[in-house]
């Protein structure tokens, strides 16, 4: 009896652990995202997250140990979700001096719709997506950080591709869920 109860407990614990891990995975899973081909600019997407809203509680600790909690929330427009991608963009050693222009970096969904980076995604840092990658035109060097897109909620369940088109060639990265 004791032995079976012990086994049952262990089994329950194991199930809890599996559920826990599965729960963690639903919201922010780092995907196995392949890099695209080498161009003047190399783009690598390390991970991405899809969020229907962003929420954070800013906890300010005082010297006496007390805390003030302030809640911040940010939502996309109705029918859309946030696609937040961590990318590294680096100039390759080829002889091109072409700048990296953000208007050519789009997310495409399975229906062929294209989405541009949000004009203002500075809010990402507030939700601990730090560092945020600059949105200025890039000329040289390597840049890393998070960037934000708003995509249709229905498209979020299908195939998503991060595509950069410049110099007549295309670099595509499939964002695998």
């Amino acid at each position: 009896m004791r032995k079976s109860s012990l086994i049952l407990n262990i089994l329950l614990l194991f199930i809890c652990l599996v559920l826990c891990l599965a729960g963690c995975q639903t919201s922010t899973t780092p995907s196995d995202v392949p890099s695209g081909n080498s161009l003047a600019w190399q783009i690598q997407a390390a991970r991405f997250e899809i969020k229907d809203s962003l929420k954070t509680i800013e906890s300010v600790t005082q010297y006496n140990g007390s805390k003030i909690d302030v809640e911040h929330k940010q939502s996309p427009q109705a029918g859309f979700v946030y696609l937040i991608i961590n990318v590294t963009i680096s100039k390759t050693s080829n002889q091109s001096a072409s700048p990296f222009d953000w208007q050519w970096l789009v997310v495409k969904d399975a229906s062929g719709n294209s989405y541009h980076r949000l004009e203002n995604d500075t809010f990402l840092e507030q939700f601990q997506y730090t560092p945020r990658i600059t949105g200025l035109q890039l000329r040289l060097g390597e840049y890393n950080g998070w960037m934000g897109y708003e995509i249709s909620a229905s498209a979020a369940t299908g195939k998503l591709t991060l595509a950069y088109t410049a110099e007549g060639s295309q670099q595509e990265i499939v964002l695998q869920k």
């Binding site: 911040h72 500075t122 840092e125 507030q126 200025l136 000329r139």
Partner: protein, 699 residues
């Protein structure tokens, strides 16, 4: 039976012996190859080398293409320092001169600059872009015959950071304002330093919050901006370095100052700097702080003179004030909190401002003899009555003494009388009394800018202009602030810099504001001498609690400092580096994992480990605490003490010269005390930081 007991006892003894052996051998706190492999290496960083490499990279990238005025090479934020700046590079077939203009929302906000002489290679600095807009930039190219062509570029910028303070303009009359931009200097590392145009719009900002804290920024005669650098000696504003830089973010010279500079630096006629500073052994080797003026040799960067204010004033005089954090047995006392310095070229004497003493003091730096003291007569009796002879006598009405003042300036002479001197300052009005009993409550208080006309022969002070009382407690700033007389209009630009507010009501607790418990706002008012307000803007917090503005200076956007050739020269480092060597400390034999660290800076530079940040003890910030750092390899260790400030803040620069080459895990050890007695019982902590350092230099 006895034998059995003996065996048990022996077994216990052996187990205890083995346990003691394990604990005292240090094996429990020794890094292993496996643990070292998991932790993050400390990066190397040197701003001067990084910027030089960046310039060379830009030139190499530029060399890949062929650029003309119609098709120029544009790089935004070239130094990753000011996101509202850019460089435009191109070639012309014949030597031409270029001017650049950034279109503003009206003519007062449109900025134009003509670059140097006639040349075929052009490097044009673009400053004053708006945030989050497609900026219209115009290049006018003129040949030697006066023929011009105009090229237009559109530069798209990003919105301001999410935590940029809220700016609310109440009054803006650009036609009556001094031309230029307001340089808004941050005080704490939770706010930005930025540039405002006459419409109150941001036209430049420094993305880094790690430099320029709570210290004046001046445009030098060479057109460069002088500011404190980003290596902290003691929180929140005692800085080891000074920078000569430009608004693109390029650092031309870094001065190493062992004494650490804070609050104010000025440029003297011969180019030397006079700065508000400390004894170089502060904080632990000298029992007071912020009470030394230093003169820095511009050529070598060395501190060539130190003027100790404890030899000028009695440091035991201690008026009621709101700067004191109330720490018992503090390692040093802040009796002066000197925040401004001026140099009188007529007699080579120095004038200083001590807000804690509510006194402006002129003295001879060679003899320490006092010329005069501008201060309320309150509190200069008893043991301090010997100073009464130096107190200036007030004449004329109205007249009010200043309290907790900031930013003293000797104004240009207007009466031609060598016996007189006019001093402009920002009078915070803090407490308005030497005693708590007679102090004015913040809700009834006000701050102001004021000009005193001082007759040094008659030893009198006359208040000849003031503004601020009209604004009442709505602009009361317990601390920080500035007042600047503007050259063209004669207007006074006033910064009500540290307005502490709880639920919108003025309060006086500076320490609470500094540690983020009380909101700090600020307000900038440009006023004509007749009292008409021509600009009035409020700065309030956005996410962070801090929207203080240490100082405001009206400056020109374009100066000679933005005209230089990329890659021509790396910024140079002058002066003497002060770093702490290893110390001794009784380390626990096992980890007490209670200290968590937040590094705001952590890097190696030229044989030194530089760090700055704050720590929590079991998830809580304590007002008093101290941390040391242990560099530990598998067979040796070195212990370094940081300079710990209040509320878990620490800063350090460790000299790795004695550290043998190898890979070291970095541990933190130390603790906190409950209450406000620095000698209270320490709650200990000792744990890895998650970082390691590779030391390769031979000692």
């Amino acid at each position: 039976m006895k034998k059995k007991i003996l065996v048990i006892l022996l077994t216990i003894a052996v187990i205890l012996g083995i346990a003691a052996g394990v604990i005292f051998s240090g094996v429990l706190v020794r890094p292993t190859k496996a643990s070292l492999a998991k932790v993050t290496p400390v990066p190397s960083y040197d701003i001067l080398k990084t910027q030089q490499q960046r310039e060379l990279d830009i030139l190499a990238d530029y060399a890949k293409g062929s650029y003309t005025p119609q098709n120029p090479y544009v790089i935004q934020d070239p130094y990753k320092a000011n996101p509202l700046s850019a460089l435009i590079l191109f070639e012309t077939a014949e030597p031409d001169q270029v001017s650049v203009s950034v279109a503003g929302k009206n003519k007062y906000a449109t900025f134009t600059d003509t670059i140097g002489g006639f040349t075929t290679h052009h490097e044009v600095a673009v400053l004053g872009l708006y945030a989050g807009q497609a900026n219209q930039v115009e290049l006018t190219i003129t040949d030697r015959n006066g023929q011009t062509q105009t090229i237009r570029q559109v530069l798209q910028t990003e919105p301001l950071p999410y935590d940029f303070p809220n700016l609310a303009v109440k009054v803006s009359q650009p036609e009556k304002m001094e031309p230029g931009l307001d340089l808004m200097t941050a005080c704490l590392d939770s706010n930005y330093t930025y540039l405002l145009d006459a419409n109150g719009e941001v036209r430049g900002y420094f993305a880094s919050k790690n430099f320029g804290h709570c210290t004046s920024m001046h445009v030098l005669k060479n057109g460069r901006l002088l500011t404190t650098g980003d290596v902290q000696k003691l929180m929140p504003y005692n800085m080891y370095t000074l920078w000569e830089m430009n608004l693109l973010g390029k650092v031309f010279v870094e001065y190493e100052v062992p004494n650490a500079v804070h609050h104010d630096i000025i440029e003297l006629e011969n180019g030397d700097f006079l700065a508000v500073s400390n004894n170089k052994d502060m904080p632990y080797g000298y029992n007071s702080r912020e009470d030394v003026i230093i003169r820095i040799d511009r050529q070598t960067g060395a501190v060539k003179n130190e003027y100790n204010l404890r030899q000028v004033l009695d440091d035991s005089r201690y008026p009621y004030n709101h700067y004191d954090p109330g720490v018992k047995n503090a390692p040093n006392r802040d009796w002066a909190h000197t925040n401004s310095v001026a140099f009188d070229q007529n007699d080579n004497n120095i004038i200083i401002s001590s807000p804690i003493q509510s006194a402006v003091v002129k003295f001879n730096p060679d003899t320490n003899a006092i010329d005069w003291i501008l201060s309320s007569p309150e509190g200069w009796d008893g043991a301090f009555s010997k100073y009464q002879q130096y107190l200036l006598k007030p004449i004329g009405t109205p007249f009010e003494w200043q309290w907790g003042q900031h930013d003293i300036t000797i104004l240009p002479d207007t009466d031609g009388d060598p016996n007189t001197i006019d001093i402009l300052l920002f009078d915070n009005g803090q407490a308005k009394s030497y005693t708590e009993a007679n102090s004015v409550k913040p809700a009834d208080n006000y701050s102001r800018a004021v000009i005193f006309h001082i007759n040094e022969t008659n030893r009198t002070a006359e208040q000849i202009w003031t503004f601020g009382k009209e604004l009442g407690s709505g602009a009361y700033a317990t601390f920080l602030g500035s007042a600047q007389q503007l050259a063209q209009t004669g207007n006074i630009n006033i910064d009500f810099g540290g307005m502490l507010r709880q639920d919108g009501v003025p309060v006086d607790n500076i320490v609470s504001g500094v540690i983020g418990k009380t909101q700090v706002q600020s307000r900038v008012v440009e006023v004509q001498r007749n009292g008409e307000v021509v600009f009035d803007m409020s700065v309030t917090p956005n996410h962070a609690s801090d929207a203080s503005t240490y100082q405001v200076r009206k400056i020109a956007l374009h100066t000679a400092a933005i005209q230089y050739a990329l890659g021509e020269s790396q910024g140079k480092r002058l002066g003497v580096v002060q770093s702490s060597g290893p110390t001794t400390y009784k380390l626990p034999n096992f980890f007490i994992p209670r200290i968590s660290l937040n590094f705001k800076q952590l890097y190696q530079q030229d044989g030194a480990l530089i760090m700055q940040g704050n720590f929590l003890y079991q998830g809580k910030a304590y007002m008093l605490g101290k941390v040391l750092f242990v560099l530990k390899s598998q067979d040796r260790q070195y212990i370094f003490a940081s300079n710990s400030g209040v509320n878990g803040n620490f800063a350090a620069r460790f000299d790795l010269g004695e550290v043998l080459p190898g890979e070291y895990a970095i541990y933190v050890v130390g603790g906190v005390v409950d209450g406000m007695d620095a000698l209270g019982k320490v709650k200990p902590g000792y744990n890895p930081t998650g970082h390691k350092i590779q030391v390769s230099r031979q000692p």
